[in-house]
Amino acid sequence: MLLALATVFIICAITFFAMHAIPGGPFNKEKALDPATIAALNERFHLDKPLLTQFFLYLKNIAAGDFGVSLKTGRDIGAIIKESFAISAKLGGIAAAAAIVAGIILGCIAALTRNRLPDRLIVFISTLFTAVPSFVLATLLLLVFSITLAWVPVWSAAERHYLLPVIALAMYPMAYITRLTKTSMLDALGQDYVRTARAKGVRRLLVIFKHTLRNALIPVITYVGPMVAYILTGSLVVENVFTIGGLGSKFITSISNRDYPMIMATTIFLAVLMVLANLISDLIYKAVDPRITFD
């Protein structure tokens, strides 16, 4: 808990001071402004104050939900984040759900058909997809299914087709969850209480669902935090490839535009989300498994 707070603070500090280490202020650009205007702008954005004061002012503003305005468009960044995150959150949410459900099912199948054909096939696929970067997968999917075969239309604001972006985002976490579920399922299937249950004559399916799966899923919970981080960073490129106007593609555009307040705000926003996801998955982990205690 304390670590999470410290992390958020450090992220803010890194972002802020890193951005201020960039040579050249935001206003000495193409046109030479007259000194009075620069002074007024500097005062408006508190650039005349010492750096540390600026930092704490910035923190105060963020806490109040005020991220400042974008240098490129002049719009309020808070509003931009709000509307674009709605799209990203939906996409990411579907991808996360798909990855978890498909990963657990495939992992169970692999564990139950150990060393037979389905297991081999699943292991092969999951190994393959851990080696494919999300941007490669995204562009290849776009190429094959949208352009060459034209089965799935390209994303547009009016018609949102989540299928391909979700696949591109979910494949890697799915492959990981599959492997995780498989190992913990195999582990749980070898436990004494499973043998006892079978010996008592409990039906096989009931044993799998009631005795094995419930214990085997605990490691999956710990992966949810990293998975959220992966999906958020993955969405940077996937949204870009499919030209989805979510937070990820806004972030990339702001990088290529060198729109510093926007970069800062999105970094902090995404970082806080990731830290929160980690914290929550840790807490759930602790709640689900009483054997775990944190020191």
Partner: protein, 357 residues
């Protein structure tokens, strides 16, 4: 008294005296039974034997060897440079844009018809009339170089930090590990992007020496790896050292006055070398992943130098007309990462004693 064939006195069957025959020298045949049947095997050779038996690991080693051979020797054979615009007989060939694999431009075709010899464009050419095969080769070179060098940085910092923290222990350990915890909790990709943006702007403003040669982006990738990715390695090494530290031979070494540095170098690190090798092997593909991601986002190596990620990124523009331009670098990334992953897994199975069956 009778003697047996060895010259030893025979024992009376009812006597309780020591049977002297039992102390007779062994016959040649008996001596041979004591010979070691199999050759002595070192830890390394033992591991290699296991590795060679793993078909996936062998396949990935062959794959990597092929990739290495190609990226080392192809630039010597192919007469094009990665930033060289194709020209025929000293004249710039304007028709050589976006050629298909093994296709010729009109000027080249005319030259060949006249009896001239040209090297085929194995992967075609790109939008700026450069040979795409050689660009992919250099891209793979850049990506592999970044992967290896970044892993080396991670290895050095991680081993030093982890061994000091683990060996010294106490408050030092506590403080050093808290720092590791905090860096570990940072969302790495975001910080990498952020630092790349910042370092890129800072470094590109002073274009001298090594920065100019490698490009500010590549330097910032190394700095970022040096700042962020060593923590995993440091944790691993610390854990290993804590486990090894309590062994008696460490106590023995300390009692005869060996210095901590010597104990770590001579006694502890050789004992966790397998873990270090495995972790480094698995670090390389993740560094390549990160680099290609950054290049794809536009924060990678400096143009005109190609990397696999930036080639894939550039290929997106003409995706409809020239899909193969995406497919080549994409397949190369996947092959390299997949074989490195499989090789790392194979190394772990072969060298990690805890996993021995």
């Amino acid at each position: 008294m009778k003697n047996n064939e060895n010259g030893m006195p025979m024992k009376n069957p009812l006597s309780l005296q020591i049977d002297l025959a039992k102390f007779a020298p062994a016959t040649e045949e008996e001596k041979r039974q004591q010979d070691v049947m199999s050759e002595s095997s070192s830890f390394f050779r033992d591991g290699m034997k296991k590795l060679v038996k793993n078909p996936l690991a062998v396949a990935s080693m062959i794959m990597l060897a092929i990739v290495l051979l190609v990226i080392i020797f192809a630039p010597m054979i192919v007469p094009y440079g990665y930033d060289q615009i194709i020209s025929v007989e000293g004249k710039r060939d304007k028709g050589a844009k976006n050629l298909e694999p093994f296709a010729w431009s009109e000027m080249e075709q005319a030259y060949i018809d006249k009896g001239g010899k040209l090297f085929p464009h194995i992967f075609g050419t790109d939008a700026m009339s450069r040979d795409y095969f050689i660009r992919c080769v250099y891209g793979a070179r850049v990506s592999l170089f970044i992967g290896l060098f970044a892993s080396l940085i991670v290895l050095v910092i991680g081993v030093i930090w982890g061994s000091i923290s683990g060996y010294v222990g106490g408050k030092t350990d506590l403080i050093m590990m808290r720092i590791v915890d905090i860096i570990y909790a940072l969302p790495d990709m975001l910080i990498i992007i952020l630092l790349s943006v910042v370092l890129d702007s800072i470094l590109s403003s002073n274009n001298t020496g090594i920065v100019a040669r490698l490009g500010s982006n590549m330097i910032s990738i190394f700095i970022v790896f040096g700042l962020l990715y060593w923590v995993g390695m440091a944790r691993l090494i610390r854990g290993q050292i804590l486990a090894i530290k309590s062994n008696d031979y460490i106590l023995a070494a300390r009692s005869i006055g060996a210095r901590p540095g010597r104990i770590i170098r001579k006694h502890i690190l050789p004992n966790c070398i397998s873990v270090i090798i495995i972790a480094t092997a698995l670090q390389v593909p993740s560094a390549i992943f990160t680099e290609s991601f950054l290049s794809f986002v536009g924060l990678g190596v400096q143009a005109p130098m190609p990397s696999l990620g930036s080639l894939a990124n550039a290929a997106r523009e003409g995706l409809q007309s020239y899909p193969y331009k995406l497919v080549f670098p994409a397949v190369i990334i996947c092959l390299i990462v997949l074989s490195l992953n499989l090789l790392g897994d194979g190394l772990r199975d072969a060298f990690d004693p805890k996993l021995r069956k």
